[in-house]
């Protein structure tokens, strides 16, 4: 099963550390996964 990009992947790609708290990273990663899966097919 493919895996969605995470905030960390974007940081690596951008070679920048983003000052985002862990709970917010979790929230963003959850949404990244939903978007990656086209929304409904979680």
């Amino acid at each position: 099963m493919s895996d969605a990009p995470t905030v960390n992947d974007y940081e690596e790609a951008a070679e920048k550390e983003l000052d985002i708290k862990q709970e917010d990273r979790d929230a963003i990663n959850t949404t990244l996964e939903q978007v990656f899966n086209g929304g409904s097919n979680e």
Partner: protein
């Protein structure tokens, strides 16, 4: 899908997580190469770029531009993302290889950030989010020329006719982010013949 309970204390999102340590947006496209392209009609150019949801897309000038803004409000009056929130929009636009060769497609940059430098509190981050294409691709999140373009999504060997769908994931914090920070930038989408397939 296990849904993590993500807000622990009082408005973890409200805690004012400043996003960028740098000064202002760092993800602008290298000025020198910022060629603006007006393809006669995005949808039937070789590199088809089409909106999948026209409410978040402003296609008035013939090119497809992403606009989550007051000027491009949704039919229901939505004028932008909520503050202190994460917003995900999938099926925003798609790119279709309408040429006759296998191509490698790149989209960059992936991350758009703006932080209010003086308060150092408000910030917005927008992540160009690839969607799971239904076929086998090597999909790289790689830096291109690390010094200039901060990373891109690379799709290798896209057959003619195949398409790549994109969405957006946006994060704005804290609750005072409203009207303080915003993103005005551009995405560069590039397609080149795949070297192995087209010797």
């Amino acid at each position: 899908m296990d849904r993590r309970k993500f807000v622990a204390g009082l408005g973890a999102l409200a805690g004012g997580s400043a996003l960028a340590t740098g000064t202002g947006a760092f993800s602008s496209v290298e000025a020198g190469r910022n060629l603006s392209v007006s393809v006669a009609d995005d949808s039937n150019a070789y590199l088809g770029i089409e909106a999948l949801d026209d409410e978040y897309i402003d296609a008035t000038d013939g090119t497809l531009d992403i606009a989550l803004t007051e000027a491009n409000a949704t039919d229901e009056g939505g004028e932008g993302i909520n503050a202190n929130a994460v917003t995900g929009i999938s099926d925003l636009f798609k790119i279709t290889n309408q040429g006759s060769q296998n191509v490698d497609v790149f989209a960059q940059p992936l991350t758009f950030i703006q932080a209010d430098i003086d308060s150092g509190v408000e910030s917005i981050a927008v992540f160009l989010t690839p969607q799971d294409p239904d076929y086998n691709f090597l999909f790289d999140v790689i830096p291109i020329e690390p010094t200039t373009i901060p990373g891109s999504i690379a799709y290798k060997n896209v057959d003619p006719g195949n398409e790549l769908r994109f969405g957006l994931t946006a994060f704005a914090a804290p609750d005072t982010a409203t009207g303080t920070v915003e993103i005005n930038n551009s995405i560069s989408i590039t397609a080149e013949p795949n070297a192995e397939e087209n010797p």
